[in-house]
Symmetry: C2
Subunit: 183 residues, 2 copies
């Protein structure tokens, strides 16, 4: 799938997943896309745990209380270290976000669906830490995001977004030139 089609096909899927397993070859392609993402000062602060063991998927899914997704046949856990790029500046959020976007696009290109699950697991009830403990992740890493991976059994819905004109301009903020930008 070409880049632009993948970018515009991606959306957050919260429906039922087919139970058919995701191949190791595909999981590796997805994670390699995450690894290839840029990172501030090349700190490569994010790491990845791909889950395809059914009993482990079930345990993780049980920790997601309330459950926000159907139990998928595979999952990518994104773990992040707050590595310092310079002085006290860390780009770890930027690093893992770019990696997640690369993985979401690869997931869509391979015919699967997913959803960026972050707030639900990094919130005060610390579900991410419980999942991290289950996976043996040390305390200096945070489990910041789960990406389910599987084939959709339900229609993929598109969320409504603001228009180009509401979010983008040429050569100045809310510049009028925007109105005839096809010159």
């Amino acid at each position: 799938m070409d880049v632009i089609s993948a970018i515009h096909s991606r959306s957050s899927y919260r429906g039922k997943y087919d139970v058919a397993p995701v191949s190791r070859e595909h999981l590796r392609l997805i994670v390699e896309a995450g690894i290839a993402a840029p990172s501030g000062c090349n700190k490569q602060s994010s790491s990845f745990i791909a889950i395809d063991e059914p009993s482990l998927l079930k345990k993780i899914h049980q920790l997601l209380d309330p459950s926000v997704i159907d139990c998928p046949p595979a999952m990518i856990c994104v773990i992040s270290q707050r590595l310092i790029a310079y002085r006290n500046v860390s780009f770890s959020v930027q690093d893992y976000s770019a990696a997640i976007e690369n993985m979401l696009l690869t997931i869509v290109a391979l015919g699967y669906q997913s959803c960026w699950i972050e707030g639900h697991i990094t919130d005060s009830d610390a579900i991410g830490r419980k999942i991290a403990d289950l996976l043996g992740v040390p305390d200096d890493f945070s489990l910041v995001c789960l990406l389910p991976v599987g084939r959709a059994l339900e229609p993929v819905k598109r969320i409504e977004k603001k228009t180009f004109e509401q979010r983008a301009w040429f050569n100045g903020f809310m510049h009028k030139e925007n109105m005839n930008c096809n010159d």
Copy 2:
């Protein structure tokens, strides 16, 4: 260009740019890729200003002191609002990072090069604010990133990254199963 090739072709380019202009059609495709990125609770906290006016490009380039890039024939300025998703939680960094990665992949797919310039303009000397003022960006937005856009005149260098085995595992942190992951 297919997604996986674009992801693995992208790298941070800091060489000379061809002076040939970037078409409005291409700039719009790049910005539309940013707009299509996911955002936490669909807050769509990032906006974009595409610059292709030569005198404005020169002024922005002069504000980048020390200059970290050659003056490109076009540029995308990413502006961000710290919008609250819920309670006091904002996903604005995640939002603009996913948008930037979508735009970088589109830039590469269209045959251009770029570089994620963030720390240099958001640092204590507030170059981003000076550029924002030049573009009429209100104070409730931060100019968080510049993406130059242009054709490379020099070879594109690849930065060395850690291996898959150093950053990814199956079914557990540093799980040994990783060693024979091609089953």
